[in-house]
């Protein structure tokens, strides 16, 4: 307890006379933003935080808090927010902060019901405090800041190097080692790291990313930002767009060339995927991945068609479809937001910066649209939200996943294979938004990527949903995605595809199979490399999105697993009928197994009674069961055993 006798001033940065447990001045000066509409609580919290020697800014309105954070992106280290606020739901704020600023957020409430706490977890809160908050609880909040920074550092190191060496996939593995040391060092000097980060952000056109600069600020590609990006790219011409020019055209302060470069990579992958899907037959051969394309293109095309067909056929759960559409269209506040955030992330993360293989799809409005669609997906799986993506969840998961996901992402990049999974998903997401079509298959986008067809964004509609779904899902299954390093991400995405596709009857499942193989191989490569190429942040996001999507898709499409399986089979059969080179067949087979697994996973995921309104389910005690189920997923994922896919199988 604090000794009242100690004349501890509010902002005394020095060590508090030995009473405080931290004689180490490290946590002192932590910049906390506390948001609560209750003035009494606000006052008490402020006082407590000051006693902890933190620098406190208090705010009684969420909107105000957001604008404060936006104005000063690096002005705070952590946010503490109440759940129930009149002007904005605390969870929404949580999502926003996670997406836009990527700061750790602690939720608090007098409400200690399990459902709400779980919601906090799934939305990505790093902690949940029950009111009345005691000062002891606040004393240790700095751990969340450190933890987050550590994750970022690990990621940024990888991504930094990756970004720098465009086209070099297998990059600095050793960065991982550096990360560890630096993160350790930074722990003690998080402030200086922060400053460094700020400095980095301001750097523009600085191609050389200092991998040792752990505090790479994470750029969140908001819808607006992405649209700006897309506009710039279109103006320059997708093939001719170079990050430097794009950066100039966008004219966004604080955005670095590296940010744009990695984003551009993802975007290109996404476009490629889209192109493959729409063209489906002709484009298939564009695939830079010889083996992969065949498998993908048919899938992609299928996806595109399937979606519509499915929708028409009502295969898609009417509700989910409606929900998705409603979500996408209406942009429900809660739903849309998470979705959006996820989309953005997913999109960006998926666009593996390194995927340079001429994958350039013209994705004109994919980015923007996709985002919207993402929302759709998110909206649908809202039920899942508690567990999954809930925007915040994404964020947090992404963070965590970023470690894992990033690796995966990197792997993909290094292998030079399209990141169908990653990219596709993200692409899909963005596409989804535009078209606001209930997802169909994120797999579609993926496929298009593989096939490298320059298809239009038509396919997008389907994709986005998936991607979104995946994102949502991924958040739920951080474990799932990560265990396999790159594979997990992919597997997750595939699962999602399976799940989602099942719902839509899209051939996504099959596609995934096809995808799975090549991508898995790629990923396998990455884990070793620690895919530096990939922008860690992005990757993390990608995976998160993947996961989320998966979850979301699973939830959203909680079609009976049997249905899904059936569809998958249909798809697979269909797929096989198509011209699939032997390689692809093999891949398919491999993928098929993967697919099956994914289905299984999907099943697991969709275990909750197939109600389109997952939300409802989750709000109840099903949340726990759902959560548990999710936890079961990682096990399933492991079954995928991506490592089993030898690189040789992938016709690179």
């Amino acid at each position: 307890m604090l000794n009242p006798g100690q004349g501890r001033g509010p902002d005394s940065a020095g060590v508090a006379g030995g009473v405080s447990s931290n004689s180490d001045p490290f946590p002192a000066g932590l910049r906390v933003l506390v948001v609560d509409d209750d003035p009494t609580c606000l006052m008490i919290l402020e006082r407590m935080l000051r006693t902890c020697l933190y620098r406190v800014t208090k705010c009684n309105r969420a909107e105000l808090a957001l604008s404060l954070l936006r104005q000063n992106k690096n002005g705070f280290d952590i946010v503490i927010s109440d759940v129930h606020m009149p002007d904005m739901d605390g969870f929404k704020l949580l999502e926003h902060v996670g997406l836009e600023m990527d700061l750790p957020v602690i939720m608090m409430s007098a409400d200690d019901s399990k459902a709400v706490v779980l919601k906090g977890v799934t939305h990505g809160a790093v902690d949940y405090l029950i009111k009345p908050v005691r000062i002891e609880a606040l004393k240790n909040i700095w751990q969340h800041v450190v933890r987050k920074k550590r994750n970022e550092w690990n990621v940024s190191e990888h991504s930094g190097s990756v970004e720098e060496t465009t086209g070099e996939r297998q990059q600095q593995r050793d960065d991982g080692g550096d990360n560890n040391s630096s993160s350790a060092n930074n722990e003690g000097s998080w402030r200086s790291s922060r400053k460094r980060k700020e400095g980095e952000v301001d750097e523009q056109g600085d191609d050389k990313e200092d991998t040792s600069s752990l505090k790479k600020p994470r750029v969140v590609w908001s819808v607006e930002l992405h649209q700006q990006f897309v506009a710039a790219v279109n103006q320059l011409g997708v093939d001719k767009a170079v990050p430097k020019k794009i950066l100039e055209m966008m004219n966004v302060p604080g955005l670095t060339r590296e940010n744009v470069a990695s984003h551009l990579q993802k975007y290109r992958i996404y476009l490629r995927r889209l192109g493959g899907v729409s063209q489906h037959q002709g484009n298939m051969n564009h695939s830079f991945m010889t083996g992969q394309d065949p498998s993908f293109s048919p899938l992609s095309t299928l996806n595109g068609f399937d979606l519509q067909a499915l929708a028409a056929a009502g295969q898609l759960p009417a509700q989910s479809l409606a929900q998705l559409q409603a979500a996408g269209l209406a942009r429900p506040s809660s739903l849309a937001k998470p979705g959006i955030s996820v989309d953005q992330r997913g999109i960006f993360s998926f666009e593996s910066p390194k995927i340079r293989h001429g994958q350039q799809m013209m994705m004109n409005s994919g980015g923007g649209g996709g985002n919207k669609q993402m929302n759709l997906l998110h909206g649908v799986p809202m039920g899942m939200e508690p567990r999954q993506f809930a925007g915040g969840g994404h964020m947090r998961l992404q963070q965590q996943m970023s470690g894992g996901g990033r690796v995966a992402g990197q792997n993909v990049q290094s292998s030079g294979m399209m990141m169908p999974v990653g990219g596709g998903t993200s692409m899909l997401q963005s596409l989804g938004q535009q078209q606001q079509q209930v997802m169909l298959s994120s797999s579609v986008p993926r496929r298009s990527e593989l096939t490298e067809s320059s298809s239009s964004c038509r396919v997008l509609p389907a994709a986005p949903t998936h991607s979104v779904v995946f994102n949502n899902f991924s958040s739920e299954l951080p474990r799932n995605s990560f265990p396999l390093a790159s594979a997990p991400g992919i597997s997750v995405s595939y699962q999602e595809e399976v799940n989602s596709s099942d719902a839509k009857g899209v051939t996504a499942t099959t596609t995934t199979a096809g995808f799975g193989n090549p991508s898995y191989d790629i990923f396998n490569d990455y884990p070793q490399h620690n895919s530096n190429d990939w922008d860690l942040q992005n990757i993390g996001m990608v995976f998160n999105s993947h996961q989320d999507t998966t979850a979301a898709s699973s939830a959203a499409f909680s079609c009976s697993s049997s249905t899904q399986r059936k569809r998958a089979e249909q798809v697979q059969n269909h797929h096989q009928q198509q011209h699939l080179p032997s390689q692809s067949l093999n891949q398919l087979n491999g993928g098929g197994s993967v697919r099956v697994k994914s289905e299984r996973v999907a099943e697991t995921v969709t275990c909750p009674p197939a109600t389109t309104l997952f939300q409802e389910q989750y709000n109840q005690e099903d949340l726990m069961s759902a959560l548990l189920k999710q936890e079961g997923l990682p096990l399933v994922d492991n079954e995928f055993d991506f490592d089993g896919y030898s690189i040789d199988n992938i016709p690179v």
Binding site: H84, K131, P132
Partner: protein, 145 residues
């Protein structure tokens, strides 16, 4: 004088008007913030009056929007908990329970209790703070062991 203050405070605790949270607040008080607890309490009463009025109005309307009532009460309960208003908090919890089951009459009845406890606490604390100020800041700042 100081002993009187201490006794009053002790009785508040013993009678259940205040709980440990109040003690937490006292811990936060120090030389730099000698009147912290009183400031918080003042703020609490000012803000909670607003909430009480809102609930009163909502109840008078007779429409019994339980969700809305519960929202108000959630806020009110949160505040009360923060300063350690134990009895008030108990009544709030009951009120929310009535809201949950949609018992309008129960809500009305309990709300009267809420208001009563709230008023009682206010009086007692005002008295306490007054004495404490007279007794001297050092004494009030000291944590009651």
């Amino acid at each position: 004088m100081q002993r009187q203050v201490a006794l009053i405070k002790k009785s508040l605790f013993d009678q259940g008007y205040l709980d440990e949270q109040f003690m937490e607040l006292e811990e936060l008080q120090d030389d730099a913030n000698p009147n912290f607890v009183e400031e918080v309490a003042t703020l609490y009463f000012k803000d909670s009056i607003r909430l009480i009025n809102s609930i009163d109005q909502a109840l008078e309307r007779g429409s019994f929007d339980f969700n809305r009532l519960d929202n108000y009460m959630h806020q009110f309960k949160g505040s009360s908990t923060s300063i350690g208003a134990s009895k008030v908090k108990t009544e709030c919890t009951m009120f929310r329970e009535y809201c949950r089951v949609g018992n309008a009459e129960g809500c009305l009845r309990i709300f009267q209790q809420v208001k009563k406890e709230h008023a009682t606490l206010r009086k007692k604390l005002e008295h306490y703070f007054q004495l404490a100020r007279q007794a001297g800041p050092k004494e009030t700042a000291r944590r009651s062991k």
